[in-house]
């Protein structure tokens, strides 16, 4: 077993090298802007850039709307399937996997052709509607992650008993979902939300093809025109992804561990 442990260390060290060298190199490159000395000039320029602030805020807002839309679509459906329509589960699981099968560029291509200015539903006719279409596209992309997160959360609570108890106490459907079910799966919903945020914040394809001033197209534009700023932006983007994943990890510690009634 001793040689086994040796090889395990070798594999781990090689993996760590492959994953950390690009990060170190990017940090180093991002600080090379001032000649002859390391500095944070690139970060200062990037963070002070008005377009950075505008596009970043645009993507944050788009991500927030995506999360709201995703929750509105996924939570009632996942809840209802657990409660009343378990026979629909395979169909819904299949649909939520489709965004992993159909590339994002194909989905947005379909939008552009189907919801063009001359179509019955002209999403591309004005900016507000196109923003809405982008949020819809992002919600589609995040569907697999959101559904899985919410469904896992619902598995750990006893949906049927909670619902019946609420009904006996005279609660209507909207009260049951917003005041009984949602608080119980809040942590699962939040993990789905942070994952959605991480995916949406730097998304390039959809935003670019819908001509929206989002963070992803801005990144691409900077990459094509600048030398040191892209490296600084890559580090910022990595930090955002890291932040989202850490929040998910921290949240998972608060999630209920045991399933009250596995079904």
């Amino acid at each position: 077993m001793k040689s086994g442990r040796f090889w395990a260390w070798v594999v781990f060290a090689l993996g760590a090298a492959y994953f950390f060298i690009p990060l170190i190199a990017t940090v180093e490159f991002s600080m090379r802007m001032r000649r002859g000395a390391y500095s944070f000039d690139a970060y200062q320029i990037v963070l002070g850039d008005a377009r950075f602030q505008a596009t970043f805020m645009y993507s944050v807002v788009a991500a927030l709307f995506t999360i709201i839309l995703g929750v509105l679509i996924v939570v009632p459906a996942a809840y209802w399937i657990r409660l009343r329509l378990p026979q629909l589960r395979p169909i819904v699981e299949f649909i939520t996997l489709l965004p992993l099968v159909i590339p994002a560029i194909v989905i947005v291509f379909g939008y552009i052709r189907m919801y063009g200015s001359n179509s019955p539903l002209p999403f591309l006719a004005n900016d507000t509607a196109t923003n809405a279409l982008l949020v819809i596209g992002y919600a589609t992309l995040s569907l697999p992650y959101m559904y899985r997160a919410v469904d896992t959360g619902l598995r750990t609570i006893d949906v049927r008993t909670l619902t019946e108890a609420a009904q006996i106490l005279g609660a209507g459907w909207s009260t049951i979902i917003t005041r009984v079910i949602l608080p119980n799966v809040l942590i699962a919903v939040l993990s789905g939300a942070f994952l959605t945020f991480a995916i949406v914040i730097g998304e390039f394809t959809m935003a670019s093809l819908l001509n929206r001033p989002a963070f992803g197209p801005y990144l691409q534009n900077i990459g094509a025109n600048r030398a040191y700023e892209p490296a600084a932006l890559a580090i910022i983007a990595f930090a955002i992804t890291w932040g989202c994943m850490s929040l998910i990890q921290i949240l998972s510690r608060f999630a209920p561990k045991s399933a009250n009634r596995p079904n």
Partner: protein, 329 residues
Amino acid sequence: MTDLSLSNQAIAGKTAPPADARSRRLPTQWFGVAPFFIFAVMFLILPTLYLMLGAFQNDASEFTLANIVGIFDPPNLSIYLQCQGASWLSWTPGNCQLPTILAAYWISIKVSLASALIGAFSGLAIAIAIVRGGLPEWIRSATLTFSGVASNFAGVPLAFAFLATLGRLGLATVILNTVLGFNLYAHGFNILSFWGLTLTYVYFQIPLMVVIITPAIDGLKKEWGEAAATLGATTAQYWRMVVIPVIWPSFLGTVILLFANAFGAIATAYALTGSSLNIIPIVLYAQIRGDVLHNAHLGYAIAFGMILITGLANVFYIWFRTRSERWLK
């Protein structure tokens, strides 16, 4: 559970008039899932079907196979893509062939397959090392956390990171040159090439493999190892006759998932290589932006081909997954 709901229904049927119960139940039964299905049909299924039908139609909306044939037609893409420095089919400079849509598919398949295979084997090795290698516990949790982050660190920023590492002025390139005297670019390496792109994709492929395959390796029961040892098996025999057959289906399934994952990706490649390495999503991107093929329906056909390839890949994935679940319960 079913008994309970049945008896509930039976009671409800006895106490309330059936017609009344039905009229109240029918609409609410579908109420909860209606938004989901309306959304999925409008923004996922119909747009995809629209493209797939468009792939088999001409401008007059008549049925045709011309668009599909067009994919296999060499000169189409040459309108848009002049033969560029780095060539297409064999990635050696100077051996320049006319670019075609087919060549773009082919290079996409090659990059996806190469990055999936490299990612899968490396990811498997890392997973085995952290689960079975007797490493300290914190390494396992740190690796899994990092994998969660790195598997989502894709797109444009990843391209920046690799340009800063292996670009002409990247840290790794410079250190190799100054310290070891090895000039990467003089030896034919280029970040804007097949291997450059593959090496970059591997950065999100390995972590994805680690995240997916670690539970499968956890699922290998200790008893199997003990049983094999009791029966006198060597370590090599245990691996060859127990571990590999059990892990194989989920390994293959994940390879396919990684393939589909790389095949649809565009942002990393676009930011890394611009249009000097035209994988099929970049060709489709150019077509959507500016109808570079001068035939809208040819764009539909390209999209159809992409769905076909990732769709087929996922059929295999589901098939392998159901096979692996038999053992790893």
